[in-house]
Assembly symmetry: C2
Homo-oligomer: 171 residues x 2
DNA sequence: TATTGTTATACTCTATAACTATA
DNA sequence: TATAGTTATAGAGTATAACAATA
């Protein structure tokens, strides 16, 4: 936080001037670093959020997929089933989520939001959209779109119905 | 793993067909999902690695920055100082890393690889390069380069000396 | 007074594996 | 037999804060 930019040219070991070597071009490494940087940016903008990011995400996905299986949601969010059990139960205990067993497959557990969960989400959704935009403010709109497309590819999500891969110049 | 693609058109609640709503376009969310997917891909290709990815990364960075401060390395890798202490010590106990206090600033701790650490790295580096490439095999070479550039921007790393942002068409 | 690192506690999430209930 | 979920244990890493040594 200090203004120091003065006498640090002597040892070439000044902080933050770390050379990452091969890692400077490693997508998997940069994926991790960028993700951490993005989350830190979000927390810097909005400290003291009433719910954790993971909880806000879960609420969104449950509202958009009412009556989906707990395990199926865990899988898209890359949450381990053993942890999902505790996670969902803690949301249930706080009155945000309902769990119930459907009669046709009594092994499974389906999820729904409670009225309280829906109420919280109404405030959360716009805030989340804004935070994402602010955390990515170093990107132009086009770069943002590009990044989303590339990340979806890496994550194995289907392409969005926009920006066709190759206009093909036919016709 | 089953071939089932038959009678699942009834409830529109078939697994994995989860709709992520807003999150489908959220860069910060996709950053997390893509990162997890990439790491899972790496572990799927190479289970039973002798060192953890975080440990392999640390060795690389120490070799590329001998005598760098422990805290400075923690900062680029987004490792908390309190954890870095334990992390480095465990590497030291395994004979891979050396810690020493320089006489000119006795608050700090500088890091170096041991001969054993260097030996391990000689095998690790090529394997890491290959794993990164394989985990990103869904991308073309150009997409990979693009992704690296965008991730560096998000992570706050300076641009690589290639692919100038705008050729400017001057001259 | 600010910086560097250490220690300690609580908490989140993963890794593994065993286990139950249901299909 | 396979699938969905639960439980338990160990470990990684974060969040926080207090602390010591040095600058």
């Amino acid at each position: 936080m200090a203004a120091g930019k003065e006498a640090i040219v002597e040892t070439e070991l000044d902080p933050a001037a770390i050379d990452l070597g091969d890692l400077e071009r490693s997508a998997s490494f940069l994926l991790r670093i960028a993700q951490l940087a993005a989350y830190e940016a979000i927390f810097a903008i909005a400290p003291n959020m009433p719910l954790k990011l993971s909880e806000q995400t879960l609420l969104q996905v449950i509202e958009d997929n009412p009556d989906a299986r707990q395990g199926a949601i865990a899988d898209v969010l890359h949450i381990k089933w053993s942890h999902m059990t505790k996670f969902v139960r803690s949301m249930e205990m706080r009155g945000l989520v309902e769990r119930y067993v459907p009669p046709n497959d009594r092994r499974s557990v389906l999820l729904r939001l409670t009225e309280e969960g829906r109420a919280q989400l109404r405030e959360i959704r716009p805030r989340m959209r804004k935070l994402d935009a602010e955390a990515m403010s170093m990107l132009t709109a086009q770069e943002h779109r590009q990044l989303v497309g590339l990340l979806r590819k890496v994550a194995g999500r289907p392409p969005l119905a926009e920006d066709p891969p190759a206009p093909a110049r036919a016709e």
